[in-house]
Amino acid sequence: MSKVGYYPGCSLEATARDYAESLEAATELLGLELVEVPDWNCCGASAGHSLDHRAALNLGARNLALAAAGPQPVVVPCALCFNRLKSAQHELTQDDSWLTPEVAALGDWRGTQVVELNQFLTSPAILARIEPLVQRRLTGLKPVAYYGCQGQRPPEVTGHPQAENPTGLDRLLASLGAEVIDWPHKTDCCGASHAVSRPDLVAHLVGNLYLRALERGANCIVTGCQMCQANLDLYQAEIARGLGREVYLPVFYFTELLGLALGHPQAGRWLDRHLTSPRPLLATAGLAI
């Protein structure tokens, strides 16, 4: 078992429990042991960078310092947490006078290697490990891979080599046997935290994503970000009503499909947490669970 640091983030304790459960199961099947950063704190999210720059940097620095003591790299499943940690590291490297004495005393935050989970699990080395373990090929699933914003942009901060056209999830899904569909909206924005305060903005952005995915012939969407999953899954019936047409596009976490393809017995439990149930699609595709 090789050990990897793990920063879950707040959503994975609640809204994105399906993501947490499926990623823990899938990494275990791949022989990876996730070591949770002890006593980690919230990354500050959109509220932190919007209203309190100093707090945002300190919240990030504390997590980085706590994670430095554990195994490297530290994988982060939430794209926004990933982005906040990388941004704090990037900005503090240029000017660390923002830190409070208590946070500065926690130790070095510079060397912590923060990696987004989907980039980590779609590296060539891990993909090579996955392929021989596939038990159920996902033939019949025609997903578009939806990466969202925060894992890629800006590349000066994220270090992403293909910020405008990431391909990791596409490659993973293809190696699981899915009939992946290419589309130009991989990194378009879903509206993120506007879901609560301005749901009309999210409906507009997500409605466009549905239409584009359906035009390309997709029958599901696969994401590696829990805000994207929530925005595309939770309000699907309502947004479809607004579009005046039928939309049925289950929104999977890539870790759920990884677990399903590797034959994990709990896959049905994760998927039953979705509001847009993937069961009818899986039944049609001959993948009933």
Binding site: C10, S11, E13, A14, T15, A16, R17, D18, D39, N41, C42, G44, A45, S46, A47, G48, H49, S50, L51, D52, H53, R54, A55, N58, L59, R62, S97, W98, T100, P101, E102, V103, C149, Q150, Q152, R153, P154, P155, E156, A163, E164, T187, D188, C189, G191, A192, S193, H194, V196, S197, R198, L201, H204, L205, L234, E238, D272, R273, H274, L275
Partner: protein, 193 residues
């Protein structure tokens, strides 16, 4: 005012804001040469009262009051597309944050009050527990924004029930073992220590 018809009033340009107004921050605002890639790539221009390039231009001209009164910084979703595509690395999302923080610290009323309220309640969660308890955050937001009683109430209650039933709402609040450091992080009323 829609973006298509937006016209700017006659200005008395001043470079003072870029020289001294940003209190040590910079955002490369002076480097903009007006290519408008920021605006063409922005997914939210349909809801903005100032287009992204207009925000930069007004900053170059020192028109701070107009920027502070705009909805645009609150509509921006920080998707980082403008910064990624900018040939001059103008950090527009960072500058939008700077404007929002300035209004927040001044205790100002803003047009996009719901978004400010959501962010403020979110930060209160973090300051108190060190992590966000989504159940408490959403309940408090609904109570304070009128969504718990207004026409949205039934929709919110239904969604809440559907999520609870599927185990997507946590009932016990998270809490860090060590929390004293949080005081220092959130105590200051100033942007800088």
């Amino acid at each position: 005012m829609t973006p298509e018809t937006a016209t700017l009033p006659s200005l008395r340009p001043s470079g003072e804001f870029l020289r001294a107004g940003l209190a040590g921050r910079e955002f490369n605002l002076a480097a903009c040469f007006g290519c408008k890639k920021c605006t063409n790539g922005c997914p939210l221009t349909f809801a903005m009262d100032l287009l992204p390039y207009q925000v930069v231009r007004l900053a170059q001209f020192g028109q701070v009051e107009q920027l502070l009164a705009a909805r645009t910084p609150w509509v921006c979703a920080s998707c980082q597309t403008c910064l990624t595509r900018c040939p001059n690395q103008v950090d527009l999302p960072g500058f939008m944050d700077w404007l929002k923080e300035k209004l927040f610290r001044a205790g100002a009323e803003v047009g996009e009050a719901r978004t400010l309220l959501f962010h403020r309640l979110f930060l209160e969660e973090v300051a108190k527990r060190g992590r966000v308890f989504e159940g408490s955050l959403l309940t408090r937001f609904l109570l304070k924004s009128g969504g718990a009683l207004g026409p949205e109430a039934i929709k919110n209650a239904r969604l809440g029930w559907e999520m609870l039933r599927r185990g997507r709402i946590k009932l016990v609040p998270p809490r860090l073992r060590r929390r004293r450091w949080l005081k220092g992080v959130f105590a200051s009323k100033e942007a800088r220590p």
